[in-house]
């Protein structure tokens, strides 16, 4: 387990140092969103990659977090930190409550049910105009602040978002190697076998679903305070699909894979700005071809490729 700690420390150093060569550039701003997307992707990966339960409604929890914080801080002038905690707890409670009926479903039915939750949430964001501002969005959300220090620049937001992300990553790494994490993987391999071995599969699935919703809601709160403006398009079905693509590309069941996926899929649209409408085609191709040819994702696929190529080369020499 020592190498895991070293890996995490190295990763922390990279995160700390990353903005230095970028100074205050535009890329720092992009990296803020990489941090938020990393949290979201990781939340989904805990559920999908470890417990093997799909959710196509992650954007709903992300949106509930963002709108919860946004509405409480603008309409009710609540302290943003208090709002963040309150909203995260409420979203977790909500996920826990719907988790029991939703996670009784399996496979395709589970996918459809979570998709349904996502679509209903998206419609609600659009229709509750009095609270959310409807399709035209909610503006004037305050930045987060501690005392007189306000997180109002890209670089400040970068360290804010990534300190949350690092905590989530550390917790995930610990959880994965715990009794709970092993139970989840047992459910992934065979739910019946896991139950026979004494794993409380039903409860554990709901617990990891709740955890994943909680992480998504936190990411949502951060997102709304970083952006200071939110609208329903940021929490639609496409976002759920984007998150799914991040997890699949990075590698199902790999913590660092989710971060790699989030990094690639957040940077890519920025790099491909000239072909902005092509990105949806590209996501489709990626999802299909990765699942067929590289089901382990990049994190496992690239080392495997290396191993396949390297011995062949040394054989020649």
């Amino acid at each position: 387990m020592k190498s895991d700690k070293i890996k995490f420390l190295v990763f922390c150093l990279i995160v700390l140092a990353a903005p230095v060569p970028l100074s205050q550039g535009y890329l720092t701003n992009v990296l803020v969103f990489v941090g938020i997307n990393s949290m979201l992707a990781l939340g989904l990966n805990l559920l999908l990659g470890y417990a093997g339960q799909i959710s196509l409604g992650q954007a709903a929890f992300f949106g509930l977090g963002a709108y919860g914080s946004g509405v409480l801080t603008t309409h009710f002038a609540m302290n943003p930190w208090l709002a963040m905690v309150l909203v995260a707890l409420c979203v977790a409670l909500f996920a826990f409550a719907i988790g029991f009926p939703v996670l009784r479903l399996k496979g395709h039915y589970l996918a459809m049910a979570t998709l349904g939750v996502g679509v209903i949430a998206h419609i609600a964001f659009n229709e509750t105009v009095d609270l959310t501002g409807g399709p035209s969005g909610l503006s004037g959300i305050p930045n987060l602040s501690v005392g007189s220090f306000t997180f109002d620049s890209d670089i400040k937001n970068y360290y804010l978002v990534w300190s949350f992300a690092l905590v989530v990553i550390l917790l995930s790494l610990n959880m994965v190697n715990s009794r709970f994490g092993r139970g989840l993987r047992a459910i992934h391999d065979s739910e019946v076998a896991a139950r026979v071995m004494g794993v409380n599969a039903r409860l554990m699935k709901v617990q990891v679903f709740t955890l994943s919703a909680l992480i998504s809601a936190l990411a949502g709160s951060l997102y709304c305070h970083v952006m200071t403006f939110i609208s329903p398009t940021s929490f639609g079905f496409n976002i759920s699909i984007e998150l799914l693509t991040m997890v699949v590309i990075g590698g199902l069941g790999s913590v660092y894979g989710s971060i790699l996926g989030a990094l690639l899929l957040t940077l890519l649209p920025e790099l491909l700005r000239a072909f902005q409408d092509y990105d949806i085609v590209f996501y489709g191709l990626l999802l299909v071809s990765m699942t067929i040819y590289l089901p382990g994702g990049l994190v496992r696929g690239i080392p495997a490729l290396f191993r396949r190529v390297m011995p062949a080369r040394s054989g020649h020499a």
């Binding site: 459809m112 799914l244 489709g284």
Partner: protein, 294 residues
């Protein structure tokens, strides 16, 4: 009296959209029964039906009948390509992999259509004019009659096909037990391909006949597909009358809810019904529960 007329009106338009959901639901059930896959790209077949018809009429200057045939044939080709390129290479794929693949295919199809024909809504003229018919105080559009007619034809046709032809019976055999079907000499692989062909054709036909009422665009497939799935779930994923009833009930509830409660929440109503059915009666409205097989 005013309210009663309104309700009649909502029921009629609800039945028409419900018939569409029924057709899409049937197309879901056909693939599910032969492969065990819920095809998330099903809605894109529906969208392709409408969009390709409009393209054939406007760009290729085909008359309506040929345009419809061309659109259905085109969509069917897409279905075949999908089965050959994305489904067949994965022999023992997990449900998770199949979900991700069909979702990927659906956004791929949507994206390509968006690049080719843009994001604007496209209009298809009604098949026989827009002169409304007045029946019992409610208005009925000629397009509604087309929808009811085509739906009835399709239901009768599929009943005949699945119960009275060798291919149809072979496909049903596969849905009951693939291994046993294979042992008596049915080529399961071919039946899977057939099911994609029939399903794509059916889905695109639904897309063609609904297009004059609702207009169409590259992104209409998501909603239509999901509601068709809802109909199929209500019918217990069978390919018979239960799914048709499911579609009609869904269409009516949605139309009444939109008319009497709030039109903004129209789509939410369908999904609430979907969730309720999945939670309470996942085996469908009309079936008895089955024991879970491991």
């Amino acid at each position: 009296m005013e309210l009663l007329n309104q309700i009649t009106q909502f029921v009629i338009s609800g039945l028409a959209t419900g018939a569409i959901y029924a057709l899409i639901g049937l197309s879901f059930a056909i693939i599910f029964n032969s492969t065990g896959i819920i095809n998330f790209a099903q809605g894109e077949f529906v969208m392709l039906g409408g969009v390709l018809t409009i393209f054939s009429i406007n760009a290729l200057k085909l008359p309506l009948v040929f345009a419809v045939v061309a659109a259905v044939a085109g969509t069917t080709l897409v279905g075949v390509a999908f089965e050959r390129l994305a489904i067949r290479p994965l022999k023992d794929a997990t449900p998770l992999a199949l979900i991700i693949i069909t979702i990927g295919t659906s956004i791929l199809i949507r994206g390509v259509v968006m690049l080719l024909w843009g994001k604007d809504t496209q209009v298809l003229a009604p098949f026989s004019g827009n002169e409304p018919l007045h029946i019992a105080g409610a208005t009925l559009l000629p397009q509604h009659l087309w929808i009811f007619g085509v739906t009835i034809l399709v239901i009768v046709g599929s009943r005949l096909f699945f119960h009275h032809t060798i291919s149809g019976k072979a496909m049903r055999a596969c849905s009951f037990n693939r291994r046993a079907a294979n042992l008596v000499g049915i080529s399961v692989g071919r039946m899977v391909l057939f099911s994609f062909i029939i399903s794509a054709a059916l889905g695109s036909l639904a897309g063609v006949i609904i297009a004059p009422l609702t207009m169409t665009a590259y992104d209409v497939g998501i909603m239509l597909g999901l509601k068709g799935f809802c109909a199929a779930i209500m019918g217990g994923m069978g390919s018979g009358f239960a799914t048709v009833f499911g579609g009609l009930i869904l269409g009516m509830l949605e139309s009444l809810g939109a008319g009497l409660i709030s039109s903004g929440y129209k789509d939410a109503i369908a999904f609430l019904i979907l969730l309720l059915i999945l939670f309470i009666r996942p085996q469908g409205l009309f079936k008895k529960g089955e024991t879970e097989r491991v």
